[in-house]
């Protein structure tokens, strides 16, 4: 059955359909709702439609369609009856809801003085479900420490939906709690989109470890600066780096004795090397470990030598 925190995001009519679905909720990845079009589910990396009895179908013709009023109602619940509070997020095209699930929206964009301000007449909703998988970093963690037990600057590389946020969350938890012979470290987590810790009213809903300080909904560059000054973390964690303004702060992090744990969208190391943003980092070998999540897990050192079999 689909979990209640997910069905509660949907309109009453859609809730009834989703409550009938008999699936493993942990393998449900995406729910796509488009006005006057059938509901599309991404389940176990495959695409399905559903009928009114909650049966998964390959054929779209018998799939349940979503009306515009259901989209509106769903948005009301997603925005916690308060879409005004998510104006900035909706302007960017997505918002994060309780549980860390990311909801992408598309509709008519309102532009003010050449800048996108908000969105109206929303006709498409994509709910990407976050899954907290404790232990998914077990195989990776031993490679991220040197012989003296010190954590190494690490970059997780993966294409979209490759599981980098899930991996980052579990790494943060394990680094923070400590494991086997490794002592727990103070982790500063900048959770720009509330996807990692999934804070609700400031309290993390996901387990991010007992020594983790979370800066929720804060832009990465500003957040990292703030944490460095205020919480003196031993490890700084952030999701999806790559904006120009991040580069300067990252250099600051590299230079101040704090270790970095970050993720980035990409297929592999070679692809990243071509990006202007990463050129200097590769030249100076600032990252000491690369974890590539693409058809399996590959771990590389600063010289791009593969460490795991």
């Amino acid at each position: 059955m689909v979990k209640k925190d997910i069905t509660n995001l949907l309109s009453l009519g859609l809730r009834k359909t989703f409550q009938k679905i008999e699936i493993d909720a942990d393998r449900l990845q995406e729910i796509r709702l488009r006005s006057e079009k059938p509901i599309v589910l991404k389940y176990d990396n495959k695409e399905y439609f559903i009928n009114s009895q909650g049966v998964l179908l390959k054929d779209y013709e018998k799939g349940v369609c979503v009306s515009q009023s259901e989209i509106r109602e769903t948005l009301e619940y997603i925005g916690n009856y308060s879409l005004y509070a998510y104006e900035e997020e909706i302007g960017q095209g997505f918002l994060t809801v309780s549980g860390g699930h990311r909801v992408g929206v598309a509709g008519k964009v309102i532009v003010e003085q050449g800048r996108k301000k908000n969105m109206k007449y929303i006709s498409s909703i994509n709910i990407r479900l976050a899954h907290e998988i404790k232990g998914c970093a077990d195989r990776v963690l031993p490679f991220l420490f040197d012989r003296s037990g010190a954590f190494l600057h690490t970059l997780i590389i993966s294409p979209p939906l490759g599981g980098k946020t899930t991996m980052l969350r579990d790494l943060v938890r394990q680094i923070s709690n400590g494991k086997d012979n490794v002592n727990g470290l103070n982790v500063g987590l900048v959770d720009e989109r509330s996807e990692i810790a999934a804070c609700y009213l400031g309290v993390p809903q996901n387990d991010v470890g007992l020594r983790t300080d979370v800066l929720d909904c804060c832009p990465k560059a500003e957040g990292m600066e703030m944490l460095l000054r205020s919480m003196s973390p031993q490890v700084m964690a952030a999701d999806e780096i790559g904006l120009e303004k991040d580069a300067e702060v990252l250099r600051h992090v590299f230079g101040c004795g704090c270790k970095l744990l970050a993720t980035v969208h990409g297929q592999n190391i070679d692809e990243l090397k071509k990006r202007q943003f990463f050129k200097d980092f590769f030249r100076d070998k600032l990252f000491e470990r690369y974890v590539v999540l693409n058809k399996g897990i590959s771990i590389y050192d600063e010289n791009e030598r593969r460490l795991n079999a």
Binding site: N8, S11, L12, R15, E73, E76, Y77, G79, N80, Y81, S82, L83, Y84, A85, E87, N118, K120, L201
Partner: protein, 169 residues
């Protein structure tokens, strides 16, 4: 003796009606002031904390001591449960349940609920500001009328009682 007792009862009951009307007017003013206070607190929560409606209402519920506390508690609880009802259905439903008597001033509460439905933050805030201005004017008018009207209701009650007694004797 019986006539005297009856006369006293008639005068007392009609005076009571007059006092009741005067009390209703005071209650109306109190509720309007409570709605205004709530609108102010909601405005602050939305403007400075960018709080969602359930968060803002929960915060206002904790601070509010007036007649609206029960109503706010009810709305906040239903919003947090998220059982699949639109905000206006929840808001108006709570008004009907918590204030079963049909009071004129409840229209202010219903109007405030409609303002909370705006999806644009600036529109939401200006809507609340305009609402506060309007209710402020109505409160001032009512406060001005309150004393003479209360006096009138009370006196009319007493005089009506005396009048009935005189014509029946």
């Amino acid at each position: 003796m019986l006539k005297l007792l009856g006369s006293i009862m008639v005068i007392a009951s009609l005076s009571g009606i007059g006092f009741c009307f005067a009390g209703g007017l005071k209650k109306k003013l109190e509720l309007m002031e409570a709605i205004k206070t709530m609108a102010y607190l909601m405005h602050g929560n939305i403007k400075y904390a960018n709080a969602t409606l359930p968060e803002a209402l929960a915060s206002v519920t904790a601070k509010h001591k007036g007649e609206l506390k029960g109503f706010l508690h009810e709305v906040t609880g239903i919003l947090e449960e998220n059982e699949g009802e639109s905000f206006m259905v929840i808001w108006n439903g709570a008004i009907d349940r918590m204030f079963p008597e049909n009071r004129e001033e409840l229209s202010f509460l219903r109007r405030l609920g409609e303002i909370f439905m705006y999806t644009d933050r600036r529109m939401q805030l200006s809507g609340i500001e305009l609402f506060i201005e309007q209710i402020d004017t109505d409160i001032a008018e009512l406060a001005q009328e309150l004393k003479p009207k209360c006096y009138l209701y009370k006196m009319m009650g007493i005089l009506a009682g005396i009048f009935v007694v005189i014509i029946t004797l």
